[in-house]
């Protein structure tokens, strides 16, 4: 049985990172794992491509420079030529975001992942891993909602099934996350964090047991680490808790990553960094009660959400509310999101929201009632 390893942009910040990643993948193979690699764009590239769509031609030059340098160091002239070919397809045309065809926006955004895949393939060659590049557009079929497409599992199934053939021949397939192909044959993108969604969708389709989401932290923190220093990582979440967490902005997960797993059996998603995947997400509902305190923001409110199976029960609501009695004036309201596993408090100011996170963390997650 093989797995899916999704390499996140947060660990791809430099040329060395690609080589390190390739070496880590080789280690996994040496440990006996066989897998499909799903790769994101390097850190910051998608934002630069968005800037380019907003008429900043400098941004595309920066993207090109990053990948050309990486290509030169990793694979020499052939790799450089491929990077240049890809970039030239978009850089010759100045496009304005919004005024153009959404299919074009997706095409432009997709080159971040495409280039990243080319570089990672080069790096895998460098460390002696037998791998092959595949084009996600040939495998991942989506609807035509450009910018936020949904994978059509039924149509994707026969194509993704072919990945088995490669793995059984001892080759590691490398394909881009985040992108797919619309029924009209145009590139679509799956929305921010869409590479995770590519990975879990493939696992769901192929009935795989393991998905690794490799990022720059040990796992999913129980609360925002910029508010709570030395915050712990949650060791275990259910699919519905992870889905709920994604809806509340946790780790900027794309919610479709876990939505696609709801109702599945036997797929374990490991979130973390190489050698340390401290959060496991699976089909086991596990213990009831608060697991994560999440912070997010909509147009008019700051939201602090408590996530965990059964947290909508009166005992948890009462505990949460009573722990916040001193913050009463900051709280605008409370939503019990039953039957979803969360409750949400709305705040008017950041100070109150941050204070609430700290208080709730102590009261609900550390059992400190004082």
């Amino acid at each position: 049985m093989f797995s899916v390893v999704k390499v996140g942009g947060s660990i791809l910040r430099s040329t060395e990172d690609y080589v390190k990643t390739a070496a880590e993948l080789r280690n996994l193979i040496e440990e006996g794992e066989r897998f499909i690699v799903v790769v994101s764009a390097a850190k910051g590239v998608t934002d630069k491509l968005l800037k380019y769509l907003n008429s900043s031609s400098k941004a595309i030059d920066e993207v090109k420079e990053f990948y050309v340098n990486a290509a030169r160091e990793i694979g020499g002239f052939k790799l450089v030529k491929r990077v240049e070919e890809e970039v030239s397809r978009v850089s010759s045309i100045q496009v304005k975001y919004g005024s153009v065809n959404p299919a074009i926006c997706d095409y432009v955004l997709s080159i971040g992942e495409r280039l990243s895949k080319i570089i990672l393939r080069g790096a895998l060659d460098l460390v002696g891993v037998n791998s092959t590049e595949l084009d996600a557009r040939d495998f991942i079929l989506t609807n035509n909602v450009h910018g936020d497409a949904e994978i059509d599992l039924e149509k994707t199934e026969p194509r993704v099934s072919k990945l088995r053939e490669f793995i059984s021949e001892g080759v590691i397939p490398v394909l881009e996350g985040f992108i797919g192909s619309s029924p009209e044959g145009f590139v679509t993108t799956l929305g921010r964090g869409g590479s995770d969604y590519t990975a879990t969708a493939i696992a769901k389709i192929l009935g795989l047991e393991k998905v690794y989401l490799v990022t720059d932290g040990p796992g999913v923190y129980v609360a925002n680490p910029s508010i709570i220093k030395r915050v712990e990582v949650i060791p275990k979440l259910s699919y519905s808790e992870a889905y709920e967490a994604s809806l509340h902005g946790v780790k900027r997960f794309n919610s479709k990553t876990f939505k696609v797993l709801l109702g599945s059996k036997g797929i374990r998603v490991y979130v973390g960094e190489w050698g340390k995947f401290s959060t496991v997400i699976d089909d086991n509902t596990g213990d009831e009660g608060p697991k994560i305190i999440a912070t997010s923001r909509d147009e008019s409110h700051l939201r602090v959400s408590i996530i965990g199976e059964g947290v909508y029960r009166a005992k948890y609501v009462v505990k949460a509310v009573s722990s916040l009695r001193d913050l009463g004036e900051h709280v605008l309201g409370l939503n019990v999101n039953y039957p979803r596993p969360s409750i949400t408090l709305l705040f008017k100011d950041e100070e109150g929201a941050n204070e609430a996170v700290l208080t709730l963390y102590k009261a609900l997650l550390k059992g400190d009632d004082t």
Binding site: R82, R89, R121, T132, D135, D138, G185, F186
Partner: protein, 346 residues
Amino acid sequence: MRLMSSYGLVKIVVIGFGNVGRGLAKTIALKNNELTKKLNITVKVVGVVDSKGMALKKDGFTGIELLKLLEQPRSSVGSCEVYGRNYVDIEELYGEVQPDIHVELTPANYDTGEPGLSNIRRALNYGLNVVTANKSPLVKAFNELTALAQVRNVKFKYTGTVMGATPFLRALKWMKAHRVEYLRGILNSTSNYILTLMHEKILSIEDAVKEAQLIGLAESNPSLDIDGLDAAAKLVIISNTLGHSIRFENVERSSLRGIDLRDIMIAIKNGYVYKQVSTLDLVKKRASVNVERIPVNDVLAGVKGAMNAVHIVTDTGEYFFQGKGGGGVETAHTVLNDVLEIALGD
């Protein structure tokens, strides 16, 4: 027909490794097992050629090797490890790999027909079956090439040259009992896509061309498409297929360049749209590719984006064919269907 290398195995060389050539390699890499199960035929690519070099393997590239060839930049198959040669010598290629089918996917050149014309002549003379998606050799020498194939007792198939991804020519060839009298259609995806953008997003022709380029539909020089040459070539092929010789130079043409946004706005207001309409009148012996103002309820007005369509009038009834006009992988499927048909002895 020349017999295949051995039962169930068909060896092909792919001349031209651009959008369609790469689409073909990819399709074979991903679908070969499925095809072998379904048809008992295994297609082996034994050689790949671009403008600068070639890669050859006598026993055929494996699926993984084909995918790795796709990782070569343009004009670089010759520098691939082990199998690459940094020169093009097609005779040498034939001699070493002994193919059954020559697949010609080089660019169209309507002035000379080259390099496709010489390549196809050479292949037929060598006794190879030929499949092509390149129109220009057919435009230059339809009768000569089809006759040569007959003399050499080999197959010559070109379904992908018209409506690339849609097997219209195959159907047309099959309709032997019908007498086709008149045909009218949209045969060029790029110009149709550009006109669709001009109507639906009110883009100028320059901006629409840029979008079509970005999406990979239009070439950096879009003249072949927007000046009607590509569609005219298709009319020549259709007409010849039906047994009526016409010359490329005699197809009347007008360009999209004459249309501006003001024309489009006025047309829309009055219930019309502009389309590049290709017409072949076999009774009056006239062929044209014109930018026409047609009513919105005309069946061709509903053919949008990269779609193609043809309405044919025969002595017994009228028929309408619609489908995608091109695309590397899609056209490659048509090319592969031609290959399979030859292999199956149809």
